[in-house]
């Protein structure tokens, strides 16, 4: 019976979305509320939810909340038996925490059922994997991102700079492929106001790199974890399922991050994401390894001075010793509250399908709200690549990408490592090993209460069932 009804909704929805005007609206009278945020993945959608209502009859209300406190609000909402919100905005690292709590609907069957409709094959596989927990698809990407390298292409391409760089370091100046090169370049471009850069005197100090070291919103871990991963480190010990971030690559990554400090703006300990990328946007940093969520600004003169005074370049991030370590990926996604009724579930799924459809993504990209994308067809579109130069990097680098941390204790990890790494960077903790050991011990003191099988299950990245044939 339930299945029949589901089928009926599905058929009705297909007819509605196909534009069959005579079809009755399948979700007339359904009201959906989304617990959302005020970032581009949502703000570009909020003004046009009326179009979805016109198509399906379902009324959608998107509530926007600040990022600080959002995850707390979602957890409290998820702990309640009767939902106030049917749709939830999810940052991909939360997926394990919400998944193990049983807070989200498994979208696997829905996505497989409507595979053709949603052009499942067109979605970059790692973007789907990023939203899975134990193989279940618990959220659907609404905005995809990678950690990429952004640099001053105008300076990198300047013949004078290239010659000087080669003379000093013995190799050609280009987007770095190793972290050592990244640091060389950072050192090379760290210059004072008035010195020359690209043949012109600098109006402001130029910094070689701009990374986050702040504790606010765990910013420091959002830089450290990708570094650590690209140095070949992993979060967990595959034998015990405990925190293993005390090994050689982990220490190396922390020390590497500290070694970048002289080339960072002096407010490095207070740098949050947007202040960090602000240096890049004003053309005051030569390069920044950063999430692609703000890359769109670098080529937009209304948002970044760099677009006027220089040129932004984009590349996949370097790796340790040039080893083909994968890029780091992330997703900002929409999910369905596990406590909704069947009808609301179908309506919510219809909304997710509509809001992440290729048509809508293309429309956003054309309108200038492209930001980060997760569909190959859009990232590969030559016109859009022209408009968004980093699309090509997103497309290419995600072929070999690793997902972010997805553990149920993610918040513990982020907070604990944020504190300890920040102490290390501030010089309060003498060595990286000491800082990392303290942090790992704190995390492990909670994990040790669980049997090893549970811990191993939590760290196991089961391939997305939605992609299985």
């Amino acid at each position: 019976m339930g299945r029949m009804r589901t089928l009926a909704y599905a058929v009705a929805l297909c007819m509605a979305t196909a534009g069959a005007a005579m079809a009755e609206k399948p979700f007339e009278g359904v009201e959906l509320k989304m617990l959302g945020i005020g970032d581009t993945s949502v703000t570009r959608l909020a003004p046009i939810v009326g179009e979805f209502e016109a198509l399906t009859g379902a009324k959608v209300q998107i509530d926007m909340f600040p990022y600080p406190g959002l995850v707390d609000k979602i957890i409290i909402e998820a702990s309640s038996d009767s939902p106030s919100y049917q749709l939830l905005w999810v940052d991909s690292p939360w997926v394990g925490m919400l998944g193990e709590a049983g807070a989200l609907v498994d979208l696997t069957d829905l996505a497989r059922r409507d595979a053709a409709d949603i052009k499942l094959d067109d979605i970059i596989p790692i973007q789907l994997q990023e939203n899975t927990w134990q193989g279940q698809l618990l959220a659907f990407p609404a905005s995809g991102m990678t950690w990429l390298n952004q640099y001053r292409a105008d300076l990198f391409e300047n013949p004078g700079e290239q010659a000087a760089f080669k003379a000093k370091y013995g190799y050609d100046l280009a987007a770095p492929t190793t972290w050592d090169q990244y640091r060389d370049i950072a050192e090379f471009f760290t210059r004072k106001k008035g010195e020359n850069a690209g043949g012109k005197p600098l109006e402001n100090d130029l910094y070689g790199a701009s990374q986050s070291y702040s504790r606010v919103q765990g910013a420091i871990t959002h830089d450290y974890f990708p570094f650590m991963r690209s140095f070949g480190g992993d979060y967990w010990d595959p034998q015990t399922g405990l925190c293993a971030m005390t090994g050689e690559p982990h220490i190396k990554a922390a020390e590497y991050m500290k070694s970048l400090i002289p080339f960072n703006p002096p407010d490095y300990l207070g740098l949050m994401w947007d202040i960090q990328s602000g240096y890049m946007e004003r053309g005051e940093a030569a390069q920044a390894a950063y999430w692609s969520v703000r890359s769109v600004r670098l080529t937009n003169p209304a948002e970044a001075r760099l677009a006027e005074i220089g040129k932004a370049g984009f590349a996949a991030n370097p790796t340790d010793g040039g080893k083909p370590e994968p890029t780091y990926t992330g997703a900002l996604s929409f999910a369905i509250n596990a406590k909704v009724s069947d009808k609301e579930k179908e309506a919510a799924w219809a909304f997710i399908k509509w809001s992440t459809s290729e048509d809508l993504m293309r429309r956003f990209a054309t309108e200038g709200n492209g930001v980060s994308q997760f569909r190959k067809a859009i990232l590969a579109d030559p016109d859009l690549q022209q408009k968004y130069p980093y699309y090509k990097v997103l497309l290419d680098s995600q072929a070999n990408a690793k997902r972010r941390i997805f553990h149920p204790f993610y918040q513990d990890v982020e907070e604990t490592f944020g504190v300890e790494l920040n102490k290390f960077m501030a010089g309060e903790t003498a060595t990286a090993a000491e800082a990392l050991t303290t942090a790992c011990n704190a995390v492990n003191s909670r994990l040790k209460m669980f049997p090893v099988e549970t811990r191993l299950r939590w760290i196991n990245d089961v391939p997305a069932k939605v992609l299985a044939d």
């Binding site: 702990s79 709590a101 049983g102 606010v216 002096p266 207070g270 309060e428 903790t429 209460m449």
Partner: protein
């Protein structure tokens, strides 16, 4: 007269009862719930963790935790810094704005504006000032030839940075309360003091201040209680960093209750901190009452 007094007392009790009843009703469930939590291992985000009774284990862990002690010490340090400066500045400014001169009402209103900004937003506003490179404060300092400091980015200055933002926001609280009290002071003692030929300073010290004392004590009480709970500004400015230099009790409680979702630990920490502030305030109360009886 005795009959009158008893009758009056009955009416006064009638004044008091509804308030007590309302407050009791609105707080009883949250307090019982928190008390119940504090003896439990309760993780709101991870329902698969058994929510078992753990006795006093949460309290034991908190009291033996270096992090909690550090947070307590930081909180007390911050309280000492903010309260003392707020008191002196607040009273000083109140004396200025209660002078019988034109424009004082306007000045007083303008000075209240800092208090009208939400503490979370105060944090953001002060970020504008504090950024070592991009901030206004170091720029202003450089204009007068001083080299700037890393306000929120060095462990030496971060706590002061928090304190300054808090002082900026809450000095108007003391100022306004004091100004209101100054207005309602009875003028006779002044006239007497002036006739006696005392200097202005003597008059302030011997006549004004003793009269202000009850109001000042009330104001400091309220400030102390709120300062003990200071949270929003830190959440935005440093989130306890750099390192752990601005970790206060509220940050500890927030992290345990929400980030780690160990609600039992958070609740236990709340009761411990309630006990500490109660002891502090009672101590204050006692010395206050002693003063009172000495006066009477």
């Amino acid at each position: 007269m005795a009959y009158q007094a008893t009758r009056n007392r009955r009416i006064f009790v009638l004044f008091l009862l509804p308030v007590v009843a309302v407050l009791f009703l609105t707080t009883i469930y949250p307090m019982l719930y928190a008390g119940w939590l504090s003896f439990r291992n309760y993780d709101l985000a991870k329902p698969f963790i058994p929510r078992i009774f753990v006795g006093w284990a949460n309290y034991a862990e908190i009291l033996s935790s270096g992090t909690f002690l550090h947070a307590l010490v930081t909180t007390l340090k911050l309280m000492a810094m903010t309260l003392s400066i707020q008191l002196v500045l607040g009273v000083g400014i109140a004396l200025l704005v209660t002078q019988r001169l034109p424009g004082m009402g306007v000045a007083r209103t303008l000075l209240l504006i800092p208090m009208m900004i939400s503490p979370v937003i105060v944090g953001l506003v002060w970020l504008f000032l504090y950024f070592p490179e991009l901030g206004y404060l170091n720029y202003f300092l450089s204009l007068v030839g001083l080299s700037g400091v890393g306000w929120i980015t060095t462990t030496t200055w971060a706590l002061w940075a928090i304190a300054i933002a808090d002082i900026w926001q809450w000095t108007p609280f003391i100022m306004m309360g004091t100004a209101a009290a100054l207005h309602s002071l009875s003028p006779e003692p002044y006239e007497a003091a002036m006739i006696d030929g005392n200097s202005r300073w003597d008059v302030f010290w011997r006549v004004t201040l003793p009269q202000l004392k009850p109001v000042l004590i009330s104001l400091m009480f309220l400030r102390a209680i709120d300062a003990f709970k200071i949270y929003d500004i830190i959440f935005v400015l440093t989130k306890g960093g750099p390192g752990d230099s601005t970790e206060v009790l509220s940050m500890f409680i927030y992290r345990e209750s929400f980030t780690f979702w160990r609600m039992g630990m958070g609740a236990a920490a709340s009761f411990v901190s309630l006990a500490i502030i109660t002891v502090l305030v009672t101590f204050f109360f006692k010395s206050l009452n002693r003063d009172r009886s000495a006066l009477e």
